[in-house]
């Protein structure tokens, strides 16, 4: 489904990813762990299509299509969703309006009928309920003045509404208390199904207590240096990243 081969990505002329390869099959949840500066966020932004993250080598194929040729919105239309590590405040833009426009843009691109305001409100309320969130998020401007926890919840709400085929969670756990972490994990787990793939990027093992990955990768120095099952995450938690980096070197 997602196939990343020998991916090289540079930011401001500096190479961050140095030949990263990864295969995610439908229904799989992959976790990418790694120390600060290993390139975790660079991978997620490159997959989402952020312009400043220049792909200098390698390929990324998504459902048989060359992902790297697509604009960010086209990637979203094809079912890719990234939950931001730092969601962006957009003052003056109502959150409900934004999510409605987003869902309709994706539906339109797929040739599906757009939702009216009434239909959308019904949908968003049902999703909020399933996530145990309250409606105050809907009335505010997009992420504006949101606490860290509210921002992440808002990301999960969008993910739940857009029902992506590939969800990338870019350190969604950072800065969250345990309650917020559980809501995030619940949102992710609710979406797990045999067709949907997920890439969970995290610095800590903690999130993986709640979201059980099928595969765990360790990213260091711009490459995946080790791949294993969920026990690898536990091992990292215990021993830190040092041993594995030494082993790889």
């Amino acid at each position: 489904m997602l196939s990343v081969k020998e991916l090289h990505v540079a930011v401001n002329g500096k190479e961050i990813l140095k030949g990263l390869s990864l295969e995610i099959k439908p229904g799989e949840v992959h976790a990418i762990m790694g120390p600060n500066g290993s390139g975790k966020s660079t991978l997620s932004k490159a997959l989402a299509g952020r312009e400043e993250y220049k792909v200098t080598g390698g390929t990324v194929t998504w459902k048989g299509e060359n992902l790297l040729e697509l604009e960010p919105e086209e990637r979203a239309h094809r079912g890719i969703f990234m939950a931001f590590q730092y969601p962006v405040e957009i003052p003056g833009v109502n959150n409900t309006y934004f999510m409605h426009q987003s869902l309709n843009a994706i539906r339109k691109a797929r040739g599906e009928p757009e939702l009216t305001s009434v239909e959308f409100m019904r949908l968003v309320r049902s999703k909020l309920k399933a996530l145990n969130m309250d409606e105050t998020l809907l009335k505010r401007y997009v992420n504006t003045g949101f606490s860290g926890g509210e921002m992440k919840r808002n990301e999960i709400l969008q993910m739940t509404l857009l029902e992506p085929s590939l969800a990338i969670l870019d350190e969604t756990d950072s800065g969250l208390d345990i309650d917020a972490l559980k809501i995030v994990a619940q949102g992710v787990n609710n979406l797990r199904n045999p067709e949907r793939s997920m890439l969970v990027i995290t610095h800590y093992q903690r999130l993986l207590d709640y979201i059980e990955p099928d595969v765990v990768h360790v990213l260091s120095g711009g490459k995946i240096i080790r791949t294993g099952d969920k026990s690898l995450a536990l091992e990292l938690e215990e021993k830190g990243y040092g041993w594995i980096q030494q082993e790889a070197a």
Partner: protein
């Protein structure tokens, strides 16, 4: 193209012709204005307040006085251009002429609405004292011309203690068969002690001819009066719109003005604010949208001359294509104006390389116990915001439009009238869609 002396001569002649008309009620001030026009120079770039204003659109034609041309207006046009419910009171001015037949005037005595000319002829003491009282001081040529050629105009008085239940709408409609007409609406608005009202103004057009609308508004807020005053300027793309607002606030009065400059080829909005009592509160909000072949100017002159008054001026602008704008915000705090609280901000979003903004906030403080601040920003669309929206499937142009609309909404949302706000949002969005697809 006319030479400057020609243009000046033209307006001097127009003003002088007026003085020959025998009106019993011709006030001293009007005569004074006629004299002023004979002496004042044309606006030019050597004067600080006109330095960045493009002058040719104002001075290239010899505009001839507009007629009402009532036969060109239909009741349907009026209905379509209304910004508040049809049942609300509405004063219609056609090319600056008061049109009682098209207006919806309250008959419950809650408001006095009269043509200025009628009020003057009847010897109304308030009107005689106040018309031209504020606009006459340091007038530029066009403000003096408006007074010198005083036509019907409108006088609105809201009696002491009255609280208007619904907004009063003033609909200015431009329509003419001939090109190069000069309309000179004039409004005198008096809110007596403790009165409260919302007065909505809409500058609209039917058809499109090259013209100059030279508007003068004088507003007096007596002690404790409160006025909410949203204005939508949506003139045609060949209209020059010069709008001079003079505001005098008595003790503890409150003014909230929102000026949206969305149309017109050239517009210049002036705000002259002064206080006649302590503890008054003045809020000026403004938004301008300027694209190809458009220029907007916002000129503030807020004089804190008495203690304990508050002023808040927030102006925002979006410029695209070859759009131009000028923000010239001057706040002066005089020595006696202790405990003044004055703030001024101007934020601009530039969507193209060719757009141009000249922004010049000025704060002159001569008192020592005051709170004052000013700030200006000029920026482009935030790439992080853009990427966030696009990553959610929203196409580039639509995302830019959303960010711009959000930027403008702080001001548009301050109008407090849904129909007006939605119309402004739609105008903004439509113009941006065009600009971004070009």
């Amino acid at each position: 193209m006319n030479s400057a002396p020609n243009v000046l001569q033209h307006y001097r002649r127009l003003a002088a012709d007026q003085s020959g008309v025998a009106h019993d009620w011709l006030s001293r001030r009007q005569l004074h204005a006629v004299m002023q026009v004979q002496e004042l120079p044309l606006p030019d770039r050597r004067s600080e307040s006109w330095r960045y204003t493009p002058l040719p659109p104002l001075l290239e034609q010899l505009f001839q006085p507009a007629e009402p041309e009532e036969e060109l207006l239909y009741a349907d046009d009026v209905a379509q251009l209304r910004l508040t419910d049809a049942g609300n009171p509405c004063i219609v001015l056609l090319n600056g002429f008061f049109m009682p037949g098209f207006s919806t005037l309250p008959d419950d005595g809650s408001v006095q609405i009269q043509p200025l000319r009628t009020a003057l002829a009847g010897g109304d003491k308030t009107v005689l004292a106040r018309v031209g009282e504020l606009s006459g001081e340091q007038a530029h040529l066009f403000a003096a011309l408006n007074m010198a050629m005083l036509g019907e105009g409108v006088y609105v008085r809201i009696p002491a203690g009255a609280v208007l239940a619904s907004p009063l709408e003033i609909l200015h409609i431009s329509v003419s068969f001939e090109s190069e007409r000069l309309a000179q609406p004039r409004l005198l608005l008096v809110l007596e002690e403790g009165a409260q009202a919302t007065v909505v103004e809409h500058y609209a057009h039917v058809g499109d001819t090259l013209r100059l609308n030279n508007v003068v508004t004088e507003i007096f807020l007596e002690a404790g009066a409160q006025l909410h005053h949203p204005r939508l300027q949506n003139e045609s793309l060949r209209t020059r719109h010069l709008n001079s607002l003079y505001l005098r606030q008595a003790a503890d009065s409150r003014y909230r003005g929102v000026t949206l400059a969305l149309g017109g080829a050239w517009s210049r909005s002036e705000f002259h604010v002064g206080f006649s009592g302590a503890g008054a509160d003045c809020g000026l909000d403004g938004f301008y949208l300027s694209g190809d072949r458009q220029s907007h100017g916002m000129h503030l002159d807020v004089i804190h001359n008495l203690p304990g008054c508050v002023s808040r001026s927030r102006f925002k602008g979006i410029l695209h294509g070859q759009g131009k704008a000028v923000f010239d915000g001057n706040i002066e705090v005089r020595p006696d104006a202790q405990k003044t609280d004055a703030r001024l901000s101007n934020d601009n979003l530039l969507l193209s390389r060719d757009a141009e903004i000249a922004t010049k906030p000025r704060l002159e403080i001569y008192a020592d116990d005051v709170q004052c601040s000013h700030g200006t920003t000029v920026g482009q669309i935030d790439e992080e915001m853009l990427f966030y929206l696009r990553s959610r499937g929203i196409p580039h142009a639509q995302a830019v439009n959303m960010i711009c609309s959000g930027f403008a909404d702080e001001i548009i949302g301050a109008c407090g009238l849904e129909t007006l706000e939605n119309q402004a949002r739609e105008l903004l969005s439509r113009q941006l869609v065009q600009a971004l697809s070009a």
